[in-house]
């Protein structure tokens, strides 16, 4: 290994990178675009869902109930006096997510202790869209009615439970989606650019015939490889810097843990992605294939890593695949460090699988890379 040759390679890479303005702009532009798009767009706790009321009992209790629904923020009444047929139609057309039917004599039956029924029909085609609103409803109705059920009626408002359940929502008490999404995006952005750039970069040299020329010089394959990927490590850190600043300035995502531990995790994660890029480049014949392979790897990294959907909700086999993906571990690291203030003790169980991943994939990649040279 010669530092001089390595430096020659890196210098050449930087020169090419500087000349390829579009790629360079993309590498800084992609994080910004994705953060703006997904940071503002994705919300896993949707509010102000359209609600239609079918009311057969106009009383003060009903009025209070409707008021409470609106105050909760989850329900937005778009029609407060529809008939059953219109309401069903709106639900089918997707014009409303909820239809709440208040039966005739609801108030009277309640006071008589006749256990009247309230009917909430929800468009549960997308479970995530309506889940939180539905979950909030029983508590909501209970507390709304409690206001009216005072004095002689107070016996009706007595809670059925004889104990209190306390819930502490830790790390993100307000359930702000961005706190989860924005750190996660760091993993997705790094996966995308690091894999694609190395895979394309090395494949381009082979495809354009410059690799043969390179290898006829005294430069060694390992020097070519390291020289080619080193600049991308720097770019990876630029992306991390962009992501972190935007997380702070635009989304106010807390950062409780150690900054240095995060930088270390980023380093390990970037290495993991670069080894994938190298392996891809040594198993494909041209840049188009390299691109396709990169996407083939990118999709599970988004869908099965716990970035988009809860990891615990996946079946066992999918979790096993997820556990192999570097992004899964990186997401746990970055969310843990930023939101929970996790330290070395909590971090190493994720750094270890990442390191094993690097060793295994590096081994495969180098083996294949040597073969392609022959």
């Amino acid at each position: 290994m010669s530092w001089q040759r390595l430096w020659a390679m890196m210098l050449k890479e930087f020169l090419q990178l500087r000349r390829d303005r579009l790629t360079f702009a993309m590498m800084v532009g992609i994080p910004i675009m994705q953060l703006l798009l997904f940071g503002y767009a994705i919300n896993t706790d949707p509010k102000h869902l359209n609600t239609v009321l079918v009311v057969y009992d106009q009383g003060s209790l009903t009025r209070n109930l409707v008021q409470a629904l609106q105050n909760s923020g989850y329900f937005q009444i778009v029609n407060n006096d529809a008939n059953a047929q219109v309401a069903a139609e709106m639900l089918a057309k997707g014009e409303t997510q909820f239809v709440l039917t208040i039966p005739a004599n609801f108030e009277r039956d309640l006071i008589r202790n006749d256990y009247p029924s309230l009917l909430l029909e929800a468009d549960a085609a997308d479970p995530a869209a309506t889940g939180n609103a539905i979950a909030s409803l029983p508590q909501l109705v209970q507390s709304a009615l409690r206001h009216d059920l005072t004095g002689p009626l107070s016996y009706l408002a007595t809670p059925a439970n004889h104990f209190e359940l306390k819930i502490h929502r830790l790390y993100n008490p307000e359930g702000i989606t961005q706190y989860n999404i924005v750190p996660g995006l760091m993993g997705v952005i790094l996966t995308m650019t690091m894999i694609m750039m190395t895979a394309l970069g090395i494949t381009r040299e082979v495809e354009q015939g410059t690799m043969e020329n390179l290898l006829a010089t005294p430069i060694k394959p390992l020097e070519v490889m390291i020289g080619k990927i080193a600049p991308y490590i720097l770019i990876g850190y630029v992306q991390v810097a962009v992501t972190l600043s935007m997380a702070k300035l635009l989304f106010n995502v807390p950062f409780i843990g150690s900054f240095w531990l995060l930088l270390l995790s980023v380093m390990v994660f970037i290495f993991a992605n670069l080894t994938i890029g190298i392996t891809i480049s040594s198993s494909v014949r041209n840049q188009t294939q390299a691109m396709q392979m990169s996407f083939f790897f990118l999709l599970p990294s988004i869908l099965l890593s716990g970035f988009m959907f809860p990891f615990q909700g996946m079946p066992r086999w999918a979790q096993i695949i997820g556990e192999i993906l570097p992004n899964t571990h990186f997401l746990r690291l970055v969310r843990g460090i930023m939101l929970k203030g996790n330290g070395w003790h909590e971090a190493w169980p994720h750094l270890l699988p990442l390191s094993i991943f690097i060793l295994v994939v590096m081994f495969i990649g180098m083996k294949k890379f040597r073969k392609t040279l022959d």
Binding site: Q4, A8, K12, L15, Q16, R19, D20, E212, A216
Partner: protein, 316 residues
């Protein structure tokens, strides 16, 4: 330490397989120091693979050899430092400037006095004024000159050129060969692979390979003399009909068609003369002359023999 040899390249029974395909099959050849050695053969005959083995880029599967006194199996890294190799495709970076490309090569070879050397190389090339131009924007001829300059930057004793003049215009080709001869005169050994017969004639010695095997070797004149071919040239108008008739003759082993003339060659001079006799007598419209085959005739003939002898689909 191996004793100093008269040969810049000396390989014996060099063999390379890709999968179960034998690309180079027991190739033995010697390139003398200071000569221009031509390496000829059809596409896919194993020229590039042989060159790559000789410059330490590929490890042979069998045989033995030395390049500049260095073992091609064990001292590949040293060979790379001593040899200049110009690949078939333009191997420099199109998105770097001319100067940046040369600077990169100079750094890779860990050269001292980089600036002076590159300045000198640019001066020699006549590209000093255009040194900031991107290499990709150069024409074919200029790209080739730049690639040669890059291959020569570290002052190699041996230059391996893989089809250097493919896609280059005639004037640039002439200039290029001019330069090759100057380099040879300065003591650099040159191995050059080519398709062009006029280029083959500019070499001191030649080898012809097909299907990975060496078919013939020698000076251009030796190759012509040893081919055992006798050739008649016939010229005149309306050659098509005549050529059809001549080809049917058993004594004619091969022919080469030119615009207004035809080369008729055969192994047996007497049989050939006899067979051609009736045509020569009856047709005053055609001019006949007996002579030597051209290099092209010889190679086409060698190629035909090779096809008969060891084409994989044949008897094998």
């Amino acid at each position: 330490m191996t004793p100093p040899s008269d040969y810049a390249i000396e390989v014996e029974n060099l063999t390379k397989r890709f999968g179960d395909k034998v690309v180079v099959d027991h190739l033995s050849m010697q390139v003398r120091k200071g000569e221009i050695y031509g390496f000829l053969g059809p596409n896919g005959s194993g020229k590039t693979t042989s060159i790559r083995m000789m410059c330490g880029l590929l490890t042979p599967d069998g045989g033995s050899g030395q390049t500049l006194g260095l073992d091609i199996f064990l001292q590949a890294a040293q060979i790379k430092r001593e040899v200049g190799y110009m690949t078939q495709r333009f191997g420099l970076y199109s998105d770097l400037t001319i100067r940046e490309n040369l600077d990169f090569v100079a750094r890779v070879y860990a050269m001292d006095q980089r600036k002076q050397r590159i300045d000198a190389a640019l001066e020699r090339l006549g590209l000093t004024a255009r040194q900031k131009q991107l290499a990709g924007s150069l024409s074919g001829g200029w790209k080739q000159r730049l690639a040669l300059a890059a291959a020569l930057l570290h002052q190699p004793k041996l230059l391996l050129l893989d089809e250097p003049t493919a896609g280059v215009d005639p004037q640039a080709r002439r200039d290029f060969w001019e330069q090759i001869h100057q380099l040879a005169a300065a003591g650099i050994t040159i191995l050059v692979s080519t398709h062009y017969m006029d280029e083959a004639e500019r070499c001191h010695r030649l080898s012809y390979i097909a299907y990975g095997r060496l078919l013939a070797t020698g000076t251009p004149q030796e190759l012509i003399e040893h081919s055992g071919l006798h050739t008649w040239t016939v010229s005149g108008a309306a050659m098509a009909e005549l050529s059809k008739q001549l080809l049917a003759l058993p004594a004619v082993d091969m022919h080469t068609q030119f615009g207004n003339s035809l080369h008729i060659s055969g192994k047996d001079p007497q049989a050939l003369s006899q067979a051609l006799q009736p045509f020569q007598a009856n047709n005053p419209n055609y001019q006949w002359s007996e002579g030597q085959p051209s290099l092209e005739d010889v190679f086409i003939y060698l190629m035909q023999q090779a096809t008969d002898n060891f084409q994989p689909t044949g008897k094998a």
